[in-house]
């Protein structure tokens, strides 16, 4: 490994500023009173408080998972503030009313929140710490009957709809972090695409953790009714703090007959510095239920941030002929650790799933792919193809693969393959011969390696992801 290549992988975090806004923070600690406080602050219906308390009581009986291939200091759940809202929070009618300081933050991040910027065709729901700040393009969407708003708003305006689906894909006691989220989630996005509607634009949520010592627990619920389709984008950043912040989100997707949900994530939470100080602990439960026949759920993720990533976007393929897809790029550098992958649970007949996972490890980081493909006895003619490729940049990092294949039906066909490679001196030399410097060469090799995944991203995100990977890996040469 040349010194030049070593230098390439170090790049300061570009989203690490703190926005100085007065925010309303709940006292640290978690007990039933905290939950009641959150619930009353948000003026929630009674059933939701019961939902939260039920989750909290389940959570108390659960223990933190320890099977993952990541190491971190024990999280003190009583040292976290479970509610942090930017203070001047009133009902916002237009973009002009949004706190200018906030707007500047998002401008720095390049979120197209202004009406002008939104001409790019993206409707954005922005979640700042735990509270949704503004949603653009709401009117245009409501014309076709699409509901796209923060989940708090949805709870006020469409409580029955939320009640019908909340917790149906990820039950309150699903896992330790999902239970915690169910108890204390403060905001998130809600999206409902009615029967037969093809969403005219990509929907987008932007998450940002701003307050030190706070956790972000957002909850996203996307429902596509019969024949509906939607493409949903999610982006995440956080400022630089020396302390670790916890992010425990839950995302639930429901696709009914012939519906199609495409969920794309670019995750660039603060990853800690080169010594592993600070950074986000990202423990996320994402799951899609392909409930109806011919439904399709597709996850695409580009994971470049977080000190710890623990995330397994999954598909439950219950409807006959349903399709699940998972495309992932996970880049880890310095002391980052990622344990990510997917679960494809084949329950219906003729269900198909595809898994393409690309892991890139640099510095002293470790990245693991952990996946499960399960074919239930009734899943006749189920089909799965999985491919997990790892690339190692430097000799101090690690790449791991833990695929679980469980087949209970002899008509199933399951294939898994994995490979490991590195950026070789000879490859860089080849580029150098053609007048391309090492920095650009690395970027091109990495982008080529990830091409199959980037192709799945919507245009704007693909551009962002490509840039993100390049600047995560680039640096001063020689």
């Amino acid at each position: 490994m040349s010194a030049a290549l070593q230098n390439l992988v170090n790049q300061p975090y570009k989203h690490g500023f703190v926005t100085d806004i007065e925010s309303e923070i709940a006292p640290k600690g978690l007990n039933e009173d905290t939950i009641r406080l959150i619930s009353s602050k948000k003026n929630e219906p009674e059933w939701l408080l019961d939902f939260r308390l039920n989750a909290y009581r389940k959570w108390l009986t659960m223990s933190e998972p320890d099977w993952q291939n990541v190491h971190y200091p024990k999280i003190d759940f009583q040292e976290i503030s479970y509610y942090a809202a930017p203070k001047p929070k009133e009902k916002l009618a237009s973009m002009d009313e949004v706190d200018p300081e906030l707007l500047r933050t998002f401008e720095k991040l390049g979120v197209p929140m202004h009406e002008r910027a939104a001409l790019a065709g993206v409707a954005v729901d922005v979640v700042f710490d735990s509270v949704s700040v503004a949603t653009t393009y709401k009117e245009k969407l409501s014309e076709v009957g699409i509901i796209f708003c923060s989940i708090s708003e949805a709870l006020q305006e469409y409580p029955e709809l939320v009640k019908q689906y909340l917790g149906t894909v990820v039950p309150v006691g699903d896992n330790f972090f999902a239970a915690l989220n169910s108890a204390v989630f403060t905001d998130g996005s809600f999206c409902f695409i009615p029967k037969g509607v093809k969403c005219p634009m990509d929907l987008s949520t932007y998450f940002r953790i701003n307050t030190e010592g706070s956790g972000q627990f957002e909850r996203t619920l996307v429902i596509a009714e019969e024949g509906a389709s939607v493409s949903y984008l999610e982006g995440c950043t956080a400022p630089q703090f020396d302390t670790n912040q916890l992010h425990a989100a839950v995302v639930e997707l429901v696709a009914l007959d012939n519906a199609d949900i495409k969920y794309s994530t670019v995750q660039n939470w603060y990853a800690g510095d080169e010594n592993g100080v600070g950074g986000i602990f990202n423990f996320v439960t994402k799951r899609g239920l392909a409930k109806g026949v011919n439904s399709r759920i597709s996850w695409t993720q580009v994971e470049t941030g977080s000190a710890i990533t623990w995330k397994y976007p999954s598909c439950i393929l219950r409807g006959d002929n349903s399709v699940g897809e998972f495309y992932s790029v996970a880049l880890t550098n310095n002391l980052q650790q990622a344990d990510t992958g997917t679960k494809m649970i084949h329950l219906g007949k003729n269900t198909r799933s595809t898994i393409i996972s690309k892991g890139i490890s640099a510095g002293k980081s470790n990245s693991s792919y952990r996946g499960l493909v399960r074919v239930a006895p009734g899943a006749q003619n189920a089909r799965n193809f999985s491919q997990c490729d790892s690339m190692l940049v430097g000799d101090k990092c690690g790449a791991h693969t833990f695929p679980y294949i469980q087949v209970n039906n002899n008509t199933a066909k399951v294939e898994h393959e994995a490979s490991t490679s590195k950026i070789g001196e000879d490859q860089l030399f080849y580029f150098a011969q053609r007048g391309i410097d090492a920095e650009e060469a690395v970027s091109m090799i990495v982008n080529g390696f990830c091409k199959e995944v980037f192709q799945q991203l919507p245009m704007e995100f693909a551009v962002e992801a490509t840039k993100l990977l390049s600047f995560k890996l680039e640096g001063s040469v020689g």
């Binding site: 430097g394 693969t401 490991t420």
Partner: protein, 446 residues
């Protein structure tokens, strides 16, 4: 030990060990006073065994293999003295093997064995060789389980009464295989077969490990808890063929540890046919540069058998090579498990490793759990693994049908061919022929 009190099998075993009641416990062929190292080895193992918890499906290593049926058994250790008739045993003899060690219920049986003293190979049982080769044995016996200590290997060492010992001295090339035949005869007992194979510098040898049952009454239940240790010095080459054909009520728990030195080569084929529940842990350490291992496996199971193969190939040094192919054929309600782990340590640059797990499900009640696993800490490596689960390819069946072969015959042929690929790696003609016949019979559907 108290934590294990509710596990009948374990507590009865540990009780046997602690009380040393002469009636329960076989006569010691190896007086411990003469071999202080052996006493120490056993004492350590007894301590360890007491510390382990009984594995359940909540343990990652035992996630797919439920051995709770074992926990309620109170099988005593087998007693020496049983000797089946030569006529019953001779069909299992392998003509190419000019050395044969027969262990009945874990105890060496000279009248059925055939030890050839003419060639340079040191072959015998522990009781016989412990004095003459104590330095080599002491150096290796029980020393290769550093990375994979588990309850069953500890129990085997704790109950260590006898053991097959094969030492290939420096610069010797022995082409004829050594056949170790383990026969289980006593119903409702546990026996502890064990072997130690040492290949010294520049030596070559071939070992067949063969597990059979001659039970009276036929097909009664018993437990085999076996351990095999292979140590290869620089440039040594050992071939290891392992055939497990226990009866269909047996429980077979086996551990094998292989340690490879500079430029040594270990080639193994393991064939799993028998036992109600079987588990085989194969743990290979590539401990010096340029070491190489090629391991292949076939599990052919039906009815409600469970066959679990766990392998771990640990690349500790640069420039090592490992290739693995494992196949499972599961018919009726059988359940096959494969867990193959490959570790490439930080210094193990220029590792070349490949692994393939292919699984064939013949019935809709059969079940496969496969987990090929890579843990890589070095960047200049070539590592690939693949796993497939499925049924016979319709196009292949169509191809044969288009040539006038009836569908059933085509299916039988393809199933046989799937398994035969592994058997082709067996270089001993008569053994290969025997196994081919078994696979042929088991894969014929009518």
């Amino acid at each position: 030990m108290n934590a294990l009190a509710n596990i009948d099998y374990l507590s009865s075993l540990l009780q046997t060990l602690s009380t040393q009641n002469p009636g329960d416990f076989p006569k010691d062929l190896l007086p411990e006073n003469n071999f202080p190292w052996l006493k120490q080895l056993r004492t350590q193992a007894i301590d360890q065994a007491g510390q382990f918890k009984w594995p359940t499906t909540r343990d990652e290593e035992w996630r797919f293999t439920d051995i709770s049926p074992l926990s309620t058994l109170t099988f005593k250790p087998a007693q020496p003295g049983n000797s089946p008739a030569l006529a019953d045993v001779s069909p299992f003899f392998i003509e190419e093997a000019n050395n044969r060690l027969v262990f009945v219920d874990g105890f060496f049986t000279p009248e059925l064995s055939n030890v050839n003293h003419k060639n340079q190979l040191v072959v015998g049982n522990l009781a016989e060789l412990a004095t003459s080769h104590s330095d080599v044995i002491e150096h290796h016996l029980g020393q290769h389980f550093k990375s994979q200590k588990n309850l069953f290997s500890a129990l085997n060492t704790a109950f260590l009464k006898d053991c097959a010992v094969i030492i290939a001295p420096q610069n010797t090339v022995i082409t004829q295989p050594v056949h170790i035949l383990y026969i289980a005869t006593q119903a409702e007992t546990t026996h502890y077969p064990r072997c130690l194979v040492v290949g010294q510098t520049n030596s070559q040898a071939t070992v067949i490990e063969d597990y059979i049952a001659l039970q009276k009454p036929a097909n009664s239940s018993y437990i085999t808890n076996s351990v095999a240790e292979f140590s290869l010095a620089a440039n040594a080459q050992i071939r290891h063929f392992r055939i497990q054909r226990e009866n269909s009520s047996a429980f077979h728990l086996a551990n094998c540890a292989v340690s490879l030195d500079y430029a040594s080569r270990y080639q193994a084929v393991s064939v799993t046919l028998g036992a109600s529940i079987s588990r085989y842990n194969l743990d290979i350490g590539l401990r010096a540069e340029a070491a190489e291992c090629i391991i292949d496996g076939l599990a052919l199971i039906s009815s409600d058998q469970l066959a679990d193969t766990h392998t771990c190939i640990d690349h500790l040094q640069p420039n090592c090579v490992s290739h693995q192919q494992h196949k499972c054929i599961a018919d009726e309600g059988a359940h096959a498990v494969f867990n193959g782990k490959i570790i490439v340590r930080p210094d193990a640059q220029r590792t070349d490793s490949s692994q393939s797990s292919r699984n064939l499900l013949l019935s809709n009640q059969a079940k496969i759990d496969a987990k090929p696993q890579l843990e890589i800490f070095a960047d200049d490596v070539k590592c690939a693994h693949g796993a497939t689960v499925g049924q016979l390819d319709n196009e292949e069946i169509f191809y044969l049908k288009s040539r006038g072969i009836p569908e059933l015959t085509a299916r039988n042929l393809l199933t046989y061919a799937f398994g035969a690929e592994i058997l082709n790696r067996i270089s001993i003609a008569s053994l290969k022929h025997t196994l081919e016949q078994i696979v042929l019979n088991q894969t014929q559907h009518h």
